[in-house]
Symmetry: C2
Amino acid sequence: EESKKFNSQQPLTPPENFAPIIRTIYRSSFPQPNNFTFLKKLKLKSVLCLIPEEYPQLHQDFLKHENIKLFQLGMSGNKEPFVKISSDLITEAVKIVLNPENQPILIHCNRGKHRTGCLVGVLRRLQKWSLAIIFDEYRKFAAPKERPMDQQFIELYDEKAIIRYAEENNLLPLKWD
Amino acid sequence: EESKKFNSQQPLTPPENFAPIIRTIYRSSFPQPNNFTFLKKLKLKSVLCLIPEEYPQLHQDFLKHENIKLFQLGMSGNKEPFVKISSDLITEAVKIVLNPENQPILIHCNRGKHRTGCLVGVLRRLQKWSLAIIFDEYRKFAAPKERPMDQQFIELYDEKAIIRYAEENNLLPLKWD
């Protein structure tokens, strides 16, 4: 009978490229309405969207209903030769993500590959991960569209300002437990 | 000065294919001694190793020193046509992983691709994820050595026994928070 209860549930559909980054910080592609049931289980306090287009009304309604705060930082991706991810916007994004009041938080862009991948790479740098492993994680999620420019962005990002901010606000190190 | 402190730290090297699965359940390839500093940060209660070979003495010493319990279930991978992952061993593995007393727990095999991927796939089925997303996650970590047999194993695994066990012991649903 218990097994019947289990089997009667509909399958859950996480968004493509969904994964936990650390404890209560998650990443994904742009959620679709059929992902909302899954997202509810994460008990999110906020969502950080990294694309400039207006958030769809259906999604705004969902967030409002679930009492989830929306942060939106409209970024352009690293498309050579003239469009570059803004280092300042990534810093703003990190401030939002590190704030415990905003967690659990879901970070997403469109595909969950490039802009999200750059932000996650910077978070891993703040965890002091070696670049080899940071790039390996980046490529897992960006495949088959890995961008050398994104990996270079992660490597060259100047973390001094965010480190100072994080240490003043006691936000680092990020805890696994 | 605080930034100097940050910069003076050595980079951390997580094992290849390291990732959180959910909260306090992690996956990776076979950890190397240069990963031990990173692993300490996870405050593991246990490690579940899925390969049959004897655990190296250096690793045993590390686990003992850190007070981490070792579980070992020697599995053969899905190598066609005659070698198959044992469904019973996967069930035993799930029992170990779901037990809150063993968490935080790290699951690993050799590459963190196939045996670990099958176990993670079964855990995702217990979370009621759709197969499409389960396979997508499997392939991220198994690339470029994805095995159709592994994905078929995940799909055909009979979860009745483990569901009954989990419900009797109040181990499901797996919580994100």
